[in-house]
């Protein structure tokens, strides 16, 4: 067993784990956050996507011991004030409004790849969006409304009058 300390949505979670424990299972079973979905558990579906140090990655392809001392944001932490304000992020809200989900199984992963894209590329083309979500499988929507949701979110982020990053408080006025 190895001791790891991982900051999940701003809260440090310390535990003794087996080296074989994936970050996915750490988030779900040790941190107790079930919003990160287990789809294939071998890297093909993208349902388990979270942000590690700001990058969207597949949590089933990272061991918890590899994420030791790193910062993780899961779907529970993307809303205002690291998810504590109870408000949806602009991206989450756009997914609701554009009907970017049906069963919702792929949605946490889709939202997080979109958050990562928009943090680096504020004005993405449709091609950029399709590239960003290319590793995430959705069996319901046919992707069109997911792409529309991300475009809507990009538009709203560009025209908002305050700045925020995933998980950050959303009440800072743009200087």
């Amino acid at each position: 067993m190895i001791q790891v300390s991982i900051e999940v949505n701003g809260k440090t979670v310390t535990a003794e784990v087996e080296p074989r424990l994936t970050l996915l299972d750490f988030i779900r079973d040790v941190a107790g956050l079930k919003g990160t979905h287990a789809g294939c558990e071998h890297g093909v579906c993208g349902a388990c996507t979270v942000l590690v140090e700001g990058n969207a990655i597949r949590s089933c392809l990272v061991l918890a011991v590899q994420a030791d001392e790193q910062e993780v944001i899961s779907i529970e932490g993307v809303g205002g004030d690291l998810g504590r304000s109870g408000e949806l992020s602009i991206v989450q809200d756009a997914f609701c409004e554009a009907h970017g989900l049906q069963c919702g199984y792929c949605t946490p992963g889709m939202v997080l790849v979109a958050e990562a894209l928009l943090a680096d590329t504020p004005n993405p083309t449709e091609g950029d969006i399709r590239e960003a979500i290319s590793g995430n499988i959705c069996r319901c929507t046919g992707y069109v409304q997911i792409v529309e949701a991300v475009m809507l979110a990009a538009d709203r982020l560009a025209n908002r009058n305050y700045k925020s990053k995933p998980g950050q408080p959303s009440d800072q006025t743009l200087g």
Partner: protein, 290 residues
């Protein structure tokens, strides 16, 4: 889908990693984990020790020598894709990296991991073979260098020493005037390709082709170069490119699988190789000299 249990070590130096490798014959190196962790989860791989090389600083450097750009084994694919030095001196690799997996797998996956893993459709391996990259392994205290054209010998099979740690891959710098092309056909965007082709033409200052390199991947057990030296004596017109590629590709052994027949793969690869050569040629004919 849970791996078997194993021990885990996090060395800080290459020497320490090599000592750990020597201490356990069932040890494996863990780089980005994007190929190894799926194999662990499916229990296709059952190591007793994983050696995580992510904390060895020397392995994450990109260094320019007079002739080569040396990329540390642990350089992440996303970092390499955005590296100015690679865009300038190994433009073919920059083009290829765009096709390697998806943004989340590139954020973790490494240059060295892709070479060591030796998937027959790996784009990085194809570029290494096409350009004749130098692959350096450390075994104990000794460095062993391999020419990429002789390194890959089968699907997920290389001549690498089993107790070695890949430390760097040196790609030759392009000449001042050079054109490149990279194309692949895959069932989904950025997924493993059914056929792929890479080309680079180095020109001299008078605009004559000095070296022409073309490689094809995904269609056989490992990426291979096509012999197109015949083109050096032509003005690189479409007819000679098509005829030369058509002849050269008959030498390549292709394999069938669930997704495509050998016949289809060969046809597509020939088409992609022609397109890659045409793009490499046109980049120079249209662009002014650097």
């Amino acid at each position: 889908m849970k791996p078997v249990n194993f021990d885990y070590e996090r060395p800080r130096t290459i020497d320490e990693a090599c000592e750990l490798l020597a201490s356990n014959s069932n040890a494996r190196i863990l780089a980005g984990g994007q190929s190894l962790i799926p194999m662990l989860s499916m229990r296709l791989s059952r190591p007793s020790l994983l050696i995580d090389i992510a904390h060895i600083k020397d392995l994450s450097e990109i260094v320019a020598t007079d002739t080569h750009i040396e990329i540390g084994a642990m350089v992440r694919q996303a970092v390499a894709k955005n590296a100015k030095m690679i865009q300038e001196y190994i433009p073919l690799l920059s083009k290829a990296l765009h096709h390697v997996g998806h943004p989340p797998t590139r954020a973790r996956g490494t240059i060295g991991g892709s070479i060591a893993h030796a998937d027959p459709s790996a784009e990085i391996a194809l570029v290494a073979v096409t350009l004749g990259a130098e692959i350096t392994y450390r075994v104990g205290d000794d460095d062993h260098m391999f020419d990429a054209t002789e390194f890959f010998i089968g699907p997920m099979l290389t001549v690498a020493p089993p107790d070695g740690c890949l430390v760097k891959v040196g790609f030759p710098k392009t000449s001042k005037i050079c054109g490149t092309g990279f194309y692949e056909v895959a069932p989904r965007r950025s997924d493993y390709a059914l056929a792929s082709a890479a080309a680079q033409i180095n020109f001299d200052s008078k605009g004559a082709a000095k070296t022409i390199r073309v490689g094809v991947g995904s269609i056989g057990d490992f990426p291979e170069r096509l012999d197109v030296d015949h083109l050096l004596n032509t003005d690189l017109n479409d007819e000679s490119i098509i005829a030369t590629v058509k002849t050269a590709i008959t030498e390549i052994e292709t394999v069938d699988d669930l997704h495509a027949s050998a016949e289809y793969r060969k046809r597509v690869a020939a088409h992609l190789a022609v397109k890659a050569l045409q793009t490499a040629r046109d980049e120079v004919r249209e662009a002014p000299a650097k």
